[in-house]
């Protein structure tokens, strides 16, 4: 019996993986060749999806991108024995794009059957939880602190410090909330974890619960991710059944329950306090801080809110130790960051690497340049609130501090590539429009300022009173920066003013203005 892998990742499905899986099953039946078809997650090499793998004595051999029409030919060529075929890519692990990564958080994604607990356990799953069960809460927090892990959701706040606050705040009930709202364009690592290795997130949240004394967890998942919803619920049921969740985790007498809650298409609900309002059944309005969620969070109780990748990085830290994790990275950016390469790029996908690689290496060594074959002109890193970066900044190392130093943000590690046909004035307009559409409405600079911003940019594009309107746009940027309660209004000036500063010619300006 040969094991064949066809991803169930939603992006692979979006390129025809389901029909490929069906075709492989039919062809195998027709030829009387018994196969075991495993629906794995994606390896994250999306230009090769659907990527089919075959287990051979020499390891897993990859074929891709496979379309249903290729399947008969693959069988003819003997792909079940890993034989040659024009679509054969050789040993999966030897493909340079994958081989040169440092996969800690994504160690299992694309390898295992995501909803099989046995497979998870066979690939080192739940070792972190077992270790955590032998430690007292403060020692778990200490391990996470030692790892240097900073929140991967955007703000890069040290996870250990957040957990310590919750641990030290006495309360009857505490909560772990996973922020799975992943609203940024160009980001999909949360989705890949939830679809490709949901147990690692469940394990991370369970450890977080043990660390701070929380017995209930919520995964706040965006409604745009139905496949993640299905995988998470299947995995939660399996974990509960086997005693990895519930009232008596592995016979320890410790309790932790987990539930998925769906958002409803509002970007601002990724902001942690708006997110909690939403779970509570309200409009997703941002709360004033203080109080911090760690002290007064969900339903007024101490709450850990962490991003999917932050929580999914915890099991390996508890398995191999904080130091093991911290040994990757540069400066104050420790460990690895799953980078997501998207937009106009030849080889888009997921690249997990220690902090410190340059943007240029990512764009060209991994990405292979633009998809269109035209020069790359601009790159937006960190989602819709991130700066646009010109070619002159491509040598910046991927590190939180290096990015802040040039008024850019690494955020969730999403990288969107644009070729030289991009109109940066239009992109600036879009950023303002996005802010206007998604504003929660609590502060005036964000709610009204963004609408005015769109109008001002329209006038600039129309060449009406250009100098005056450009000055107005900068003023508006300053007001939004200074006068907004959260980063939606407060960071919209990043894409807008970076576009203006680095690409003034698209706004009809000749000289390069100084960086804001």
């Amino acid at each position: 019996m040969t094991t064949v892998y066809v991803p169930r990742d939603s992006s692979a499905l979006g390129l025809g993986a389901e029909r490929v899986a069906g075709a492989i099953q039919m062809e195998a039946a027709k030829r009387n060749l018994p196969i075991d078809l495993v629906r794995n997650g994606s390896r994250g090499l999306y230009w090769l999806e659907p990527l089919v793998e075959v287990a051979t004595p020499a390891g897993r051999i990859a074929y891709g991108p496979v379309q249903p029409g290729d399947v008969a030919g693959l069988f003819d060529a003997g792909f079940l024995e890993g034989k040659a075929h024009p679509l054969c890519l050789g040993a999966t692990e030897e493909i340079p794009y994958l081989k040169n990564q440092e996969r800690l958080t994504f160690a299992r994604v694309g390898i295992t059957d995501p909803v099989s607990l046995d497979d998870y356990l066979a690939h080192d799953g739940y070792r972190g939880l077992r270790n955590a069960l032998g430690l007292d809460p403060a020692a778990i927090v200490e391990e996470v602190t030692a790892s240097g892990l900073r929140g991967r959701g955007g703000a890069a706040f040290p996870t250990g410090i957040k957990w310590r606050t919750v641990l030290n705040t006495p309360a009857e009930q505490k909560y772990i909330v996973c922020n799975a709202d992943e609203g940024d364009s160009g980001t999909f690592s949360d989705r890949m974890i939830m679809e490709g290795d949901p147990f690692v997130l469940i394990e991370g949240m369970t450890i977080a619960g043990l660390a701070v004394g929380a017995t209930q967890g919520y995964i706040y998942l965006r409604v745009e991710y139905p496949h993640a919803d299905a995988a998470l619920n299947q995995a939660i049921a399996a974990a509960l059944e086997a005693g990895y969740l519930g009232d008596d985790i592995l016979g320890s007498g410790r309790r932790f329950h987990l539930e998925v809650r769906l958002g409803a298409g509002a970007y601002v609900c990724g902001e942690e306090t708006a997110l909690m309002e939403s779970i509570e059944g309200k409009r997703g309005m941002v709360r004033f801080k203080p109080p911090l969620p760690a002290i007064e969070g969900l339903f007024g109780q101490p709450t850990v809110v962490n991003n999917v990748i932050s929580l999914a990085s915890v099991p390996i830290i508890l398995d191999k130790g904080g130091k093991y994790y911290a040994d990757y990275g540069m400066g104050r950016s420790r460990g690895t960051l799953p980078l997501q390469l998207a937009g106009n790029v030849k080889r888009p996908g997921l690249i997990e690497k220690a902090f410190g690689m340059t943007l240029r290496e990512l764009l060209y060594d991994y990405g292979g340049g633009s998809a269109s074959g035209r020069p790359i002109r601009a790159v937006q890193v960190g989602g819709p609130l991130g700066s646009f970066m010109p070619e002159s900044q491509f040598d910046t190392p991927l590190d939180y501090e290096a990015f802040s130093a040039i008024w850019a943000v690494l955020g969730h590690g999403g990288v969107v590539v644009f070729d030289d046909t991009v109109d940066m004035a239009k992109m600036a307009r879009y950023a303002m429009e996005f802010c206007a559409i998604e504003s929660c409405g609590k502060c005036t600079p964000c709610r009204i300022g963004s609408t005015r911003g769109v109008e001002v940019i329209d006038r600039i594009i129309d060449d009406q009173d250009r100098a005056k309107n450009l000055a107005l746009l900068r003023d508006l940027g300053d007001t939004m920066l200074a006068g907004s309660l959260c980063a939606l209004g407060g960071m919209t000036p990043y894409p807008v003013l970076s576009a203006l500063n680095h690409f003034p010619e698209d706004f009809g300006e000749k000289s390069v203005a100084q960086v804001a």
Binding site: S185, G186, T187, G263, A266, G343, I437
Partner: protein
């Protein structure tokens, strides 16, 4: 406005099932929209009563979230991504094609009731931009040609 007929039993069932959850309002709204496709205006008093909220509060929540709708959708809803990565891969041209092809704008439904069109801001499918989602199925690297093929297939399937 004429009242649309909807399944009152389904709504009651959803409310009864979920009303005791902490923060039950979103799960209830999702449950109703999953069952009957939208959240009828005149279900609001019933929801409000079950959760001990004012009608204005319930209404405020429904209108805050882009995903909830108060009118029946077409047989299938096409969620087209408008975000940056898809823009970098010509989603604007695709958007124009789709609007012409279906003869509708965003938030509208085709005359035959087959398709509704809604914008979304990222489907997490950015490595395969431009993207759209129909029902629970994501489609990647969508071109005007592949869009037509998908829509034709769905139309035949529905007929």
């Amino acid at each position: 406005m004429t009242q649309t007929e909807w399944d009152r039993d389904a709504v009651t069932e959803v409310i009864e099932q979920k009303k005791s959850m902490p923060g039950a309002l979103l799960p209830i709204l999702h449950g109703i929209q999953d069952r009957i496709g939208f959240i009828p205006e005149d279900a609001v008093p019933q929801i409000a009563k079950a959760l001990n909220l004012s009608r204005a509060e319930v209404h405020g929540v429904i209108s805050f979230y882009h995903y909830f709708r108060t009118t029946p959708p077409g047989k299938r809803t096409i969620h087209l991504c408008r975000a940056e990565s898809c823009q970098a891969m010509n989603s604007e041209a695709l958007e124009a094609h789709i609007k012409t092809r279906l003869g509708i704008d965003y938030h509208e439904t085709t005359a035959d009731g087959a398709f509704s069109l809604e914008p979304v801001y990222c489907l997490g499918n950015c490595a395969c931009s431009p993207s759209m989602m129909i029902g629970h199925e994501v489609h990647g690297r969508v071109t005007p040609q592949s869009f037509d093929a998908i829509v034709n297939e769905l139309r035949e399937f529905a007929a």
